[in-house]
Symmetry: C2
Subunit: 655 residues, 2 copies
């Protein structure tokens, strides 16, 4: 795709974006504030800009008079960039130049980066899905050649595809006679483990005719808060559909400890299992509906989840996970027939589960470490999985140490007044005019806001902090002249969107309680990095790379995560955001058997350290309960920006 | 056990039997006729004998006066042999010496012979059941050694028993946490394939404490007519219990063709499967009740059945078995979880099925060939499986050819007026006084007769033929002076037991229709041997051994089977009866993994020949519809005995 340059006047802020990008998003990316309070749906009419030069696609709306339209006035949120542009921000959106920071915040790495590209797997000759389909044209039997149907199929596999040493699933045998005769002895067989060294190839399904082009996989990440699913095309690696739902277990406790407690009561374990299976069944239905294919096209399923989620999904007693000495019943799980777990998939589908490392570091982390490529690099890397259960891994291809630190559900929108997951309508990006305190908000799908997702929460708190609306304790500064800051039922709050610009017909706010939850969540994570590094005799300075995973949808503004102290103040080019690492790993492993071996290697390399009873961890945690940190020296650039802004404000006030 | 000699006077017939044998059975074995019409229950009082010398156990009954008892009179059926004996047969039982054959029938091989003895397997170091139990004492976890439960189990297996490369069934994982903690980290694990070269060892179950002594297997033979089950102790090879039921499918057709036809209609296939599964579930219940153990003690199951029975059991479409070119859907079947088939066994039990050779030669035959040892011997052998579906194999350890010839259900008591399977109350042996035509009958369990089983039917027809009561067409000779031969509702019949001596309170008879059914059954078998041998360029003379299998209970009188022409007139020491060959194979394979490899070897060696459309087979069949055969030269000794008897009778009549 072509890259276009957009210059925003009067600040001359420049940004390079893809042709076809939305102009309001481009402004956000350039660090240019434009008032916009409807999330990008076009109903508030506040994001008026003047396109001075260049080509855009933008219709005249009722928010712009014909005369203004003639002059180049456009609604930024309704404008598509088609060439290099010069754009002027109107006065009402412009920030007082005096309060602008001298150092502009660097542009964050927004888009997900995935280390393993499918193309690379193909080039290496490693693109061999663990489940393959093979088309066969079989010689019909005669009275002199009346070998059994199954023998004919096996003979043909050997002759046509040089595949031998086959074992056959008996559900496939049941379908064989009619499948062979339905389309004149032309069939497609589904093979599991067809390229695995040593082991047997399993023939798990047979269909009449040539169905090789319909070979889909299902990748699922079972999170404590949310469950993600992707429908994948095993022929070309494409993601055909994606869906996300809250884990239905959430009604029985927000964290793993309360889920385990519930599972210990009466029929609780079965209930927990049924709830998550029903969540996944719902996701399967959505995915199939989105892509309009029948369930039989799915031939394999992979699941990544933390240790507790994995145990509950399999209906395995999890109580010893939470009782000292914290031994989970199992790490590795064998392949399981999906329907034995109650999943609404075809008879022959087997479920691959990532192994759990320890009671609080699960298969989701292994999936992310594998998916991110960390385990195949020499660079000393800090891998961070942000979620209700925060997990950290430090190491490289040679060694790895991991730890868990329970962050709570804030990063997934949990425990936040208007929190929601990163789906359509979630406020995901934010900017504030430090003079007028008017917001610029962007939502997922550019529609009227419905709530705030994890990445939105980080960006809002960072924005409020840098605009000196919040102090470093996370409290609103008193006496600011705006009706957006007010005392609500939960204490002080900032109104992100007025009721008439929302989908919920109530004001959407962020409260001091929400901010406090976020500070505790990021404090636990930061304390985790510092403590884990210290345990292996390292410090932040030794790191060569930071990889961040988390279910924030597709975007995360790394710079703003540094601003609140969630990430270390680290050269941005060394930080990589991979999105949902568990889902990434679950997806990639559908395509290559070689990666199953890599997972085993990671599992044997990695050692776990318990932080829960570590005194240093508690000290580090308390020190991190501040924005960005009690020790400003750890965040020199953030601190400089805040000081500078405060100074500018002070000067502006004096004038 | 000690062997004792019994001499029956006045004929001086001698027989060697085990101490503790019943005296009436000993007489039958010696070829000595004693009138006895209540099957051995003691109620008819006809089997009075005089014990002249030796020690017996025998109570005085109301059939014997104190004075007679004092003189040595005993009821033979109530007398146990304790030493060498001299016994006199009273006048009423004695046969006219003039009608005695000059050549006494040789004593048949009665007791089942099994070629593979478990002891031999142990000596060879081959006594490794595919499913083993291992006891483990596991180190409990601590905060510094908090590996998962599963890892601890695997580590302990390696350390204690040097068993590695383990995969784990997830049902076992589900039970692991509580099993480990129930008896203080002492557990017993159940392992499948623990000695198989190459493949993975599967950990399929875990139980608290030491349960290694409770490791049972279930061997099942699914016959078209009857289903046999045995409960086996894997620790010592003992048969703990045995049970048999008619296959519940029998209500939907007596032969495989009618079953297949039914399975093709609507829900018929599922119905057929459910019926046989419910039959097996009934047998499982009986076996557990007999031996008084819970179902969890059974750790593996093996099944032998013909091709159609195997397909119906697995709910696999059987229609192409009966449609030219007669290709069964499958030969080999993978291991299947028993509960997936609806069997009422523990979660972890897997079912091993013998592979089918062709549409009409199934896994029951492979089981018998393996179990009899034929496949490991150099001798040219004819293996005969007598049953509703008769199967024949000719060959040795180097090569084997097989064929099927549908005999019909007569050998299993089917299609016979008073036919029944070889269970308690079935008439299994028979002798007739050729002068008075009074019978001597023995039943299974020595109780009042209930009906006639397959071996009884053969012995009755042979006895009637040799006594010249039947002619060689199987018709009763006219004008014999006895009320036991009469015209019944189905034509001419012989009364084996009068109503008051039976359990059914009706006369138990054998009719000419029954005899005709038997002649057709044995004719099909005999035609099969001749035709199959001719196909491979051999004749009866080339054979070095004949092995006979069949569900006749534990006894078969080979001499009498020769008499009716069911078996070739062959030196008796070269004939071996192994009882239910399918059940024998299903039992033996529970004890040794090596035998699974042997089964594979047999499967690849054996070739199948279709007799159904073979013109020679039809000619041979018609020639065999005679007692023993239209060509008397094929049965010289039988013919000599009959001629001799006829001559004696003629002389007796003249006198």
């Amino acid at each position: 795709m072509e890259t276009k340059k957009v210059t925003f006047n009067p600040d001359k802020a420049e940004v390079w974006v893809s042709s076809g990008e939305n102009l309001l998003r481009a402004a956000m990316q350039a660090g240019v504030h434009i008032n916009a309070s409807c999330g990008g749906e076009g109903v508030c009419g506040k994001c008026r800009v003047i396109v001075d030069q260049g080509v855009v696609e933008s219709e005249q709306t009722d928010k712009i008079s014909p005369a203004d339209f003639e002059l180049g006035v456009r609604q930024a949120c309704k404008t598509i960039i088609k060439s290099d542009l010069e754009v002027t921000i109107p006065l009402e959106s412009q920030m007082d130049r005096k309060v602008l920071a001298k150092e502009r915040p660097r542009s964050g790495t927004w888009q997900v980066v995935t280390e393993i590209k499918l193309e690379d797997l193909i080039v290496d000759g490693k693109f061999h899905p663990p489940v393959e389909k093979k088309y066969l044209e079989i010689t019909p039997p005669t009275i002199t050649d009346n070998l059994s149907d199954l023998t004919r199929v096996i003979r043909s596999l050997k002759q046509t595809h040089q595949i031998g040493n086959i074992s056959v699933d008996f559900y496939a045998v049941r379908k064989m006679a009619s499948a062979l005769r339905d389309k004149d002895w032309k069939v497609t067989v589904t093979l599991a483990n067809s390229r695995k060294k040593g082991g047997k190839v399993q023939l798990i399904n047979i269909e009449p005719g040539d169905t090789t082009r319909r070979n889909l996989a299902l990748a699922v990440d079972i999170g404590t808060t949310t469950v993600w699913g992707q429908l994948l095309d095993l022929n070309n690696g494409e993601i055909l559909a994606q869906s996300v739902e809250y884990n239905a277990q959430i009604g029985y406790g927000e964290d793993v400890i309360s889920r385990i407690a519930y599972a210990q009561k009466g029929n609780g374990l079965k209930k927990m299992k049924d709830l998550v299976v029903s969540t996944i069944n719902g996701i399967i239905k959505q995915l199939l509906k989105q892509h309009k294919v029948p369930v039989e096209t799915i031939t394999q399923m992979t699941v990544a989840g933390n240790t507790t989620m994995t145990h509950l999904f399999l209906e395995i007693e999890p109580r010893y996970i939470r009782e000292a000495p914290y031994t989970p019943p199992m790490n590795y799980v064998p392949l399981i027939r999906a329907k034995e777990l109650g999943l609404e998939l075809a008879d022959h589908v087997q479920v691959y589960l990532f192994p759990s490392i320890a009671s609080y570091v699960g298969g989701d982390v292994i999936a992310g470490v594998m998916g991110s490529g960390m385990s195949r690099q020499d660079k000393l890397t800090l891998y961070i999985d942000l979620g209700t259960n925060g997990e950290i891994v430090v190491g490289n291809s040679e060694w790895m140490t991991c730890a868990a630190c329970s962050a709570g559900p804030a990063f997934e929108g949990g425990g936040i007044k208007h929190g929601m997951r990163a789906t359509r309508g979630a406020i995901e990006d934010f900017s504030i005019n430090p003079t007028t305190y008017e917001p610029m908000i962007l939502t997922v799908g550019m529609v009227k806001p419905l709530g705030i997702c994890g990445s939105g929460l980080i960006n809002i708190v960072a924005g409020l902090l840098e605009a000196c609306v919040l102090d470093q304790n996370g409290k609103f500064k008193p006496g600011l002249k705006t009706n957006r800051i007010r005392e609500g039922e939960d204490g002080w709050e900032y109104v992100l969107a007025w009721a008439d610009n929302t989908q919920i017909e109530r004001d959407i706010v962020i409260t001091e309680v929400d901010i406090d939850n976020l500070i505790r969540a990021k404090g636990a994570m930061y304390a985790g990095y510092v403590t884990l590094l210290a345990e292996v005799g390292l410090t932040m300075e030794d790191l060569e790379q930071v990889i961040i995973a988390g279910g924030f949808g597709n975007y995360m503004n790394i710079e703003k995560a540094i601003t609140i102290g969630l990430l270390p103040d680290f050269p941005i080019q060394k930080i990589k955001f991979i999105g949902n690492g568990a889902l990434l790993g679950a997806r990639l492993i559908c395509f290559s058997n070689v990666l199953r071996t890599e997972v085993k290697r990671i599992f044997t390399k990695i050692t776990n350290i318990e932080l829960s009873e570590n005194i240093n961890f508690m000290n580090n945690y308390i020190a991190a309960l501040f924005l960005p940190h009690t020790d400003n020296k750890l965040f020199p650039r953030v601190f400089e920006r805040i000081s500078c802004r405060e100074k500018s404000l002070g000067e502006a006030v004096k004038e």
